[in-house]
Subunit: 381 residues, 2 copies
């Protein structure tokens, strides 16, 4: 059979045809009025997605570059910070702090476990020296989302600032920056923003900028003060990812036309359908608060989780994600993020049913599809 491949991973995500085609438009120079116009329109579109009146800076890097920019611009060596670590990406905040000599208290949680705002409140009360709380909107490694609204309430009452890795979450699950008192959000281009990887986005509150002014960490490429200075001149400090920005403007047009609220509803529906499907198969979810971005599913007893992912990826070309080390094999992750539709969920669940059957797991074909189909049909607009 012709094998078509399906990207069901939490980044990169599928890209609308018109956005893909935009990469083939003639390349233009970035120090031109033509590009400045595109650049500023992209910035405006990002402000809409971020839910902020602050400027959003476009960095030519992957999301991790945006995380590094946050640490390097907000902290000084020896600063005390808190990192909420419930997976690979929460853990990365700690790795970055370590690299820059920032003293971090790592709140290590089992993957998939929630961290209530009350715990954060107690932590900040116990450690008033903490200058920054590094959190994650959607922990991609575990399919868990966090109560950023609650964190914002708690942190905004203290001198500390709240920095959120919104890379996989922004656009798919609510996180209005200004309304929720989030000081810094980092986002990435290859998630709900529906373009290829290569751009990171960062916005900062006035409270965060005060820390930038006194930060002593070394930085150059990711210097946000330089980014601020050049944005005033409608340009970037370094050569930007020109075609990616052209694509991002196009994808943002789609998002604005659809509206942010509908974009959230879209992700919620796909998530609900996916969860209903896997639960109909008798499988369990990993996360306490599963997000709309991806569904992490525990590998059923007696099944080799790595094999399951391999069959999904290599036989059915349904490119779901496995669990990352050290949880490898214990669960798998089906994304429903970005430019996906109801039938992508159906494809994922059908491939999962077939894979489970291949592995000898007792499965009634069509059961997951049925559960998802009912939700999709009821909500199909």
């Amino acid at each position: 059979m012709f094998k078509k491949s399906y990207l069901l991973s939490p980044g990169p995500t599928p890209i609308p045809a018109g956005v893909l085609a935009a990469a083939a438009e003639p390349i233009i120079h970035h120090r031109t009025a033509e590009f400045s116009k595109i650049f500023m329109e992209t910035t405006e579109g990002l402000k809409y997605v971020f839910g902020t009146k602050e400027d959003v800076y476009i960095l030519t890097s992957s999301g991790t570059g945006g995380m590094e920019a946050s640490v390097a611009n907000l902290c000084s060596p020896g600063d005390q910070v808190l990192t909420i670590n419930a997976g690979k990406f929460g853990e990365r905040w700690g790795h970055l702090c370590k690299a820059y000599g920032v003293v971090y208290k790592d709140i290590v949680l089992p993957w998939g476990q929630n961290y209530p705002k009350e715990s954060l409140e107690a932590e900040l009360k116990a450690n008033p020296a903490i200058k920054v709380v590094f959190a994650t909107l959607s922990e991609t490694s575990a399919g868990q989302i966090f109560d950023i609204q609650g964190f914002g309430e708690v942190v905004s009452k203290t001198p500390a600032i709240l920095v959120v890795d919104g890379i996989s979450g922004l656009g798919a699950t609510p996180c209005p920056m200004d309304e929720w008192n989030v000081d810094v959000i980092v986002a990435g281009s290859q998630k709900s923003l529906m373009i290829p990887p290569g751009l990171a986005y960062v916005a900062l509150s006035p409270k965060a900028w005060k820390l930038v002014e006194i930060s002593k960490c070394p930085k150059f490429y990711f210097d946000l003060k330089k980014a601020r200075q050049t944005l005033e001149k409608q340009t970037t400090p370094w050569t930007p990812g020109i075609t990616l920005i052209i694509q991002q403007r196009k994808a943002l047009e789609i998002i604005r036309e659809m509206g942010l609220e509908k974009l959230m509803t879209h992700h919620r529906l796909l998530a609900e359908a996916t969860r209903a499907g896997v639960q109909a198969l008798g499988l369990e979810l990993l996360a306490e608060i599963p997000g709309n971005i991806l569904t992490a599913v525990k590998t059923p007893a007696g099944i080799d989780g790595s094999k399951l992912v391999k069959i999904m990826q290599n036989k059915y070309l349904a490119y779901i994600a496995g669990a990352q080390d050290p949880e490898k094999g214990k669960f798998f992750r089906i994304a429903h993020l970005g430019y996906m539709g109801g039938f992508d969920v159906i494809t994922a669940l059908t491939a999962l049913e077939m894979t489970l059957a291949d592995l000898g797991y007792q499965v009634e074909p069509g059961v997951a599809v049925k559960a998802a189909e009912l939700i999709l049909r009821e909500n199909w607009i």
Copy 2:
């Protein structure tokens, strides 16, 4: 939700990404060595698909142009021919003959009904003056395929020639031209050949060329003698569809790499899965010998067939085809033709289940998917 559209029609069919992208390659001039090379390679690839050692002529037209070229080049006004008419496309042979003053006996069959080779044999015996038999490999309007092998056996024993409209069928269902004694096959680019519409392909046996030599029908653009003369010089008589030919070469590479036999198996499997799915829903097929190209399904009692197609197309963006006049509403057609995969069948069946439910038809969700899934899984390579 993001709505992705799915082309489930019997042409145009989905196009592989690399083939789509080839249309964006720099346009080159057609009177160059560079284009001649592409043109000749495309011709060679088409010979492979046609199963012939004869040359295949590339006409810049849709499939109907290839049909007209056959009539205009093979016949003379007043010639007696036979047209086998079991649907819109079989009927078209008669319309073409009429336009050129060719005397045709139209064998009119109910849509979906077979025409046995014995009937053709009897017909030719009764009318020895018949010079050409115009038949159809896959009658797209009804999802019916015909016994071209049997027709070839019968016609090859007579002075008549067999001309086959293979537009939707070639590449999806067997029809090896030389082996089956088919004198002329017409094909189109937008079916199993996996490129956009715009090119028609025609190959002729030596027996057919003898008729071309004495044909008195007027022709200019579709003059196959001109095409033969220019092919010797590795070019075309008129400006060809350059980018389409570039795309066709690329798609033929995919087909050659896969192999023709596997391409047939692919279509057969998707067809079997689709038929099993719709039959599991209690629906009936239209065709006596359903082909591997598309499945025509009778509209169940109490359901408005036109509404069904509209919901599939406009709500679920699953672009199946309705029935054409005068059968409109009586059945609908799900194609599994060209660059489709197993999950496209699942998408079609899920959309059909949801549409039937929308129309109040008693349907157990997942039932069609289950039936198809079992076949797909067993045969997934």
